[in-house]
């Protein structure tokens, strides 16, 4: 998903909606299984507190409440 699509998605998912959604995720999975970051301008890389298994679909990544696609040309790389 490109940045423009992310922005469009952000507009479509209203602020209150995705915040609720994030809070639900964090509440359901707990601090051990969730990490939340606020991006700085143009940030692309995020260093995680805990490691994960690369390429095994072992994590889900949401930007502004939107699930991202873990493919090299679409969303993010893991």
């Amino acid at each position: 998903m490109g940045t423009q699509q992310i922005r469009l998605g952000q507009i479509k998912a209203n602020l209150e909606g995705f915040m609720d959604f994030e809070q639900q995720l964090i509440a359901m999975f707990g601090d051990d299984n969730t990490e939340r970051y606020l991006a700085t301008e143009n940030q692309q890389n995020f260093t995680l507190r805990k490691s994960y298994v690369v390429g095994k679909n072992s994590i889900k990544v949401f930007v502004n409440g939107i699930l991202q696609n873990p493919e090299a040309t679409d969303g993010y790389r893991s």
Binding site: T3, Q5, F21, D32, E41, N45, V54, K60, R77
Partner: protein, 283 residues
Amino acid sequence: MDIEVNPKMIAFTEPLYEGDSVVIVRNCTNSFVLSMGQSRAKAYNIYRETYFITEQNQYSFIYPTPFRYQPGLNQLKLYANGILLACGASFDYLEIGEEEFKLVHPLPIGTTLTVEVISGGLGIYQCIRYPIFIDSAKSTQRIFSLVDPYKIGSNTLKVYLDGVLLRAGSSEDYIESTEYGFTMNYDLPIGSILEAEITTFTIDIFNIRRVATEITQLNKTNMIFTTIVPYTMGESNLRIYANGILLREGINEDYIEVDTNHFKMNGTEIAIGTIIEYEIITW
């Protein structure tokens, strides 16, 4: 783009904006994400309700809030007697606002008007529609190009002729010839409307199942059909067409949802040669 990959880093293919919220969740399944999204009516929901036209020259319609849609995103679909209407000033209706649409030409009294709203508040669902007016030049054109691609063989492309759902296949109505187009197997009537519709999801865990069955014998006792995958009852995620016309669900309508793997046609029998086609979106 050269991005370092390691077990403690993720890298987005494009830069984010300041303040974008990034959440990483471990031990979270796709189905859980979707069920969670559905529970808050945000991930992907279908609302379908049928109304009867009871007034002459009724153009404008305002309907209850559960059917709110976002104009311009093809979340709203209208069917008159099961025939898909095309959106646009030179076609059948206009999207006025989140709860309102307007018909370009009024429908006769007694017509059923089915309103379908597909909402994807998380941006998961996307639909693109291409209504094409068939003039004399296009009537023999056969090959039609699309601006956006679709995945061949995935049921993400639907083609309608005058609102009737066509079927893909060399011995059917059209062929999915390229990811940017399709080829009709016959010439089209001048003055008809050909419409292509592409449905995509921004995450790749959805599958669109569409199965057609030709009725080859009259069978008054067995009108129950078994679906190849389960569907969720009462969520309008099962669509049934007879010869390309969308049917209505209900005891006094065309069919009922029996359980998660069956639907039952109402009435006494189905005519030989009828094509019963159903569609289910799974994840």
